[in-house]
Symmetry: C2
């Protein structure tokens, strides 16, 4: 049975969403959850019938959002440190954390370690799309300054994830740029384009306007741009909601219309709801690390656990190692 370490303490809303998410996940799938954190603060939340699938790893310390990622390396009594160790020593096959993402990333990189030949791990996230399936975007925050060869590896890792975990037979991989033509881009992306040209699934540049129509399955960018795009989308969402509310209130017809349309709004919300997608896998690390949003709901934690189980059950890390080695040797011979 797969074992998943859950950092119960990191969530902005305390341990409750994590525990409820674990219980929801256990109702649907068979796995063993290692609940890492201050047992006294959450043990009473667990219904007795689930105890057989749970292991408590009691620890009082945790990393707060205001701390530096480097603090996580020093304090070995924190929930995230102990959860990472459970993966490192082979007790668990995956970790899900809604805590400090920088801390999770640093610990995963330094304690669990990178896959052979991977230069930089990358955070990948699912983007909602009007097509039948979401797209995968990486990196969305692990690496703000990148070299062309880092983007190439992100492409390889994203391609592997789309194939092995998302089940897309031949993923289309695009490079985020300011124009479709190969001549478009900044120094970084133009150089990455040249290196990626020979990748069988690379289909060129993709623009910001084509991110949500399913034109590509994997979107490659540096962590600075990935963050900008993700946050801008969130900003647009907030602004549109605000404008809708402001304007609906001003008109009686608007209020009636909004009530009639509530079913439609709910369906759209479901499509663009991050909770549906769970968390963001950290690609390039041995084993499986899923980073969830600090404001994760129980549903988001449940879906992050499902993602972790799928990841841990796949061959993705072997595929990443093989694909990178192959790409490196082909590039040398080219």
């Amino acid at each position: 049975m797969l074992c998943v370490a859950i950092d119960v303490m990191g969530n902005d809303y305390g341990p409750k969403p994590a525990i409820e998410g674990v219980i929801q996940a256990l109702k649907e799938k068979e796995f063993k959850a290692y609940l890492v954190g201050d047992k006294d603060s959450f043990a009473h939340l667990v219904p007795e019938e689930y105890e057989k699938n749970l292991v408590y790893v009691d620890t009082k310390g945790f990393i707060s959002m205001s701390q530096q990622a480097t603090d996580a390396l020093k304090d070995k009594e924190t929930s995230i440190y102990k959860a990472i160790e459970l993966v490192r020593d082979g007790t668990c096959q995956a970790i899900v954390s809604a805590g400090h993402s920088g801390a999770t990333m640093s610990l995963a990189t330094l304690r669990i370690g990178r896959i052979n030949q991977v230069l930089r791990p990358a955070i990948a996230t699912l983007l909602p799309s009007t097509a039948s399936r979401p797209s995968l975007m990486l990196d969305v925050g692990a690496n703000v300054d990148c070299k062309p060869e880092h983007l190439v590896q992100f492409a390889i890792m994203g391609n592997a994830y789309a194939r092995e975990v998302m089940g897309i037979k031949k993923p289309r991989v695009g490079l985020l740029s300011n124009g479709e033509e190969s001549s478009k881009g900044n120094e970084l992306t133009k150089e990455a384009y040249k290196l990626l040209k020979n990748h069988p699934n690379f289909c060129g540049n993709v623009e910001g306007g084509d991110l949500f129509d399913g034109s590509v399955d994997v979107i490659v960018c540096d962590g600075f741009n990935g963050n900008l795009v993700l946050k801008s989308i969130e900003g647009v969402g907030k602004a549109v909601t605000r404008m809708l509310k402001q304007n609906i209130k001003k008109s009686f017809l608007g209020i009636i219309g909004a009530i009639f349309m509530s079913g439609t709004f709910k369906k759209i919300k479901k499509t663009i709801d991050y909770d549906e997608y769970g968390g963001a896998p950290l690609l390039g690390i041995k084993n499986c690390t899923i980073i969830s949003h600090g404001k994760s709901s129980p549903k988001a934690i449940k879906n992050a656990i499902f993602q972790a189980l799928k990841f841990a059950d796949s061959n993705i890390n072997e595929v990443i190692e093989k694909d990178i080695a192959q790409f490196n040797s082909e590039s040398k011979n080219a």
Copy 2:
């Protein structure tokens, strides 16, 4: 009377939107329009009573969207070349073009010339906001690879435009980054942050999520990131519209609701409608260049002309020159 050169030929939909935009503008404001282009193709569109405010500059050539920006420098018989020359020789005080933006930018930079000490001109655009006024974002496409000192100059030019043309007494200037803290950013923005720290109106980093709530009046970024953000916003807009339509069709209540809400949707559309804002000023060039979207409607052209008149009637270019000189000398002494 202010004279504005209009490149009539560049628009994707032919000369009609430009001519109609000029007529709409003349109904509201007093100015002289120099209509540059193939006179035979549009003279019949002009009602006689406006002839006294029009000057025809007949030329057959024009730069198509598929040509390179550098082509514009060679062919002196194109509408954009001739329109730029009208500003260069002092006949006109401003130019409005919905044509090839790269061509307009190259010609403006090389034929009209940069303001003293300006390193790189930047394209500034107005971003819709849920606050009472839009924000100005620059650069949105002129410079894909920037140095920190370029971003500093964009901040100074944006600040000057917000004050002198938009009428904001003390604009708040923010640097687009992946986090609010000064420690956040990539190499470029972290260095720019250090240089901007002493600018009196600089208020730190701004994230993608805060672009549309009016937290800052001026948003500074390189042209690659500016393009990504603008295009992503457009992409989200398209995706949400597509999802609304798909889902409304599936439900009778949804259709009725959408009809009742049409007034609300129209009001929101007006807030986020680029036509309302006109074009994007190219800052850092002597005189005034307004770059409009290739798909500009007559209303967009009208608003671009109003923007040009306001710009040409202001002291902004003197202010930019003075502010940059002052900032440079203060930085030297610091």
